[in-house]
């Protein structure tokens, strides 16, 4: 119940949530699981890539877990970045463990990531969750005693890292993650929503040619 009320309070921008966090080491530890479940939920919502590439059920589950781990790492990098930026603006940065926990908690809205599976409006919902997550991070950093503009810079920088790791991670930022992704999914996830149309059209044109040749 403690984690749920903590999540509920922080997701509705209530400072009481951060008071709960400061009082309990167990809650700090539990908060680190939130990015994991957020990642798994997000991957379930975006599972179209896995389905397009026809991965097995075991590898499907492994991909969900792997995305969860990537999200924990992202939260950790985001927290480090926050501490670095904070040290440029204030003389005494907040405790690193609390910063990590606050950033991990800001992934709370992404627990609804599974709902992005909904057709057409799912993508819009995903962007809405992005905005909510950034706002939660900014509010949490500010609640730790950092000035508003520093909190804003930290949350935008963190969001940039997160977006990069999500959209271009396997190409630019984290080539290792891309390779592990291939290992977990069992094959390179070459088909995406962007290129599947071209593949189908090529196949249809080839089959048309074959059907004509048969005639």
């Amino acid at each position: 119940m403690g984690v749920l009320s903590l999540l509920f309070e922080t997701m509705r921008f209530h400072e009481r949530g951060y008071d709960l966090l400061a009082d309990s080491r167990a809650l700090i530890a539990l908060s680190f699981f939130i990015p994991f479940f957020a990642g798994a939920s997000e991957m379930a919502g975006q599972s179209v890539t896995l389905v397009l590439n026809r991965v097995s059920r075991f590898r499907f589950a492994a991909s969900l877990a792997f995305t969860g781990i990537v999200y924990i790492l992202t939260a950790f990098i985001w927290a480090l970045l926050t501490l670095l930026i904070a040290s440029l603006f204030v003389s005494q940065a907040p405790p690193p463990l609390l910063v990590c926990s606050v950033i991990a908690l800001s992934f709370g809205p992404r627990l609804f990531g599974m709902l992005t599976i909904a057709p057409y409006y799912g993508e819009f919902l995903g962007r809405l969750l992005d905005g909510w997550m950034i706002a939660c991070a900014a509010h949490g950093i500010h609640a730790l005693g950092l000035p508003g503009h520093v909190a804003a810079i930290c949350s935008v920088a963190g969001w940039a890292i997160w977006s990069l790791s999500r959209n271009a991670g396997d190409k630019l930022l984290l080539p290792v993650i891309g390779r592990i992704e291939v290992f977990v999914a069992g094959s390179p996830l070459v088909l995406s929503s962007r290129n599947v149309s071209e593949l189908i059209k090529e196949r249809m044109a080839a089959l048309q040619k074959a059907a004509r040749d048969d005639d």
Partner: protein, 325 residues
């Protein structure tokens, strides 16, 4: 107080079912693409040699995609049958194909197994036939509406629309469509069928190389890549049809602020033409296929059929003129 609680609980349950149904709606497309339905999505429809009428290969083909109340391609309502008969009478040079169920990528009707909710769909269909419980039979509309959104989705759309194109092509080949000569194809899409007609054009064009025209009858169409593949989209609408206006509102890429969207580019290039055909609404008696009458005394169903036939005749005439040496 107790009743209020029950009402609230029912509303919450209804909302939960609504959201869950939406979240689960892409799964049929997933299953089809992944090959879980014992069908190979990469196979090419084969021509039924017995059904092929050798005299028809030069004809202009039109495929009719029903609205979201459709349950199976071969279970058309009396209104639909009459509508198609009127079009055939007004444009006899066109072969009309109507046994297509467009709301499943496999083309498998809701009444045919294996389907998880097969018994439910059959029960709802029986209710619909007896004209009972319109609320329950609206579940069919909701299910098909979600498939329209799957077709419009950037992520799932490609696989759903490829499936729909397969189903359309299959029906065309059964009707004697000649792939070698690839005569022009027109898809008539009523309501949600308009979206599937426009979206599947991309793959139908790749498979046939033919000229593809869509006639949307009060269609609710998103700005999908299929619109870019269309040679022409004729959007016919009724003055009192507020449902078709939803398409311009609920699909943001059709808004004027996105001038480079597929829809707005096609519109700027003159490939989308909208025409008001009368004072009809979207469905029922006062709808496109309804028996209601316009100010001039002409039934709406006849008015809609005449407008569709006019477009078909204009298309065939233009193509014949181009084909003349």
């Amino acid at each position: 107080m107790m009743i209020e609680h029950w009402a609230l609980l029912s509303m919450l349950l209804g909302a939960a079912i609504f959201l869950l149904a939406g979240a689960l709606s892409p799964i049929e497309s997933f299953a089809w693409w992944a090959g879980w339905l014992d069908e190979d999505p990469a196979s090419f429809p084969e021509r039924d040699a017995e059904a092929f009428d050798g005299g028809k290969e030069e004809r202009f083909f039109a495929v009719y995609l029903a609205g979201i109340d459709s349950i199976a391609g071969d279970k058309t309502t009396r209104r639909t049958e009459r509508f198609l008969t009127l079009i055939e009478a007004a444009a006899p040079e066109v072969t009309i194909v109507s046994d297509v169920f467009p709301y499943a990528p496999s083309g498998r009707p809701l009444l045919a197994g294996p389907r998880l909710f097969l018994k439910t769909w059959r029960a709802l269909y029986r209710l619909k036939l007896r004209r009972r419980s319109s609320i329950l039979s609206n579940i069919i509309n909701l299910r098909n509406l979600y498939q329209v959104l799957v077709s419009a989705d950037h992520r799932y759309g490609p696989i759903f629309n490829a499936g729909a194109a397969h189903v359309i092509l299959d029906a065309l080949l059964r009707a004697g469509y000649d792939l070698e000569k690839a005569p022009p194809i027109c898809i008539i899409g009523y309501s949600g069928g308009g979206q599937i007609a426009a979206a599947s054009a991309e793959f139908l064009k790749a498979a046939t190389g033919a000229r593809i025209t869509v006639i949307s009858v009060g269609g609710i169409i998103a700005s999908t890549p299929g619109v870019a593949a269309l040679d022409m989209l004729h959007h016919l609408y009724g003055e009192k049809d507020s449902v078709q206006r939803l398409g311009a509102i609920m699909f943001p890429e059709r808004w004027g602020v996105f001038p480079y969207s597929h829809w707005n580019l096609a519109k700027a290039q003159g490939r989308i033409q909208a025409r008001c055909i009368g004072a009809m609404g979207h469905d029922r008696v006062g709808g496109y296929l309804g028996e209601g009458v316009d100010e001039d005394g002409e039934p709406f169903i006849r008015k809609t059929a005449t407008a569709v036939a006019e477009v078909l005749k204009a298309e065939t005439a233009a193509i014949s003129a181009c084909a003349q040496p």
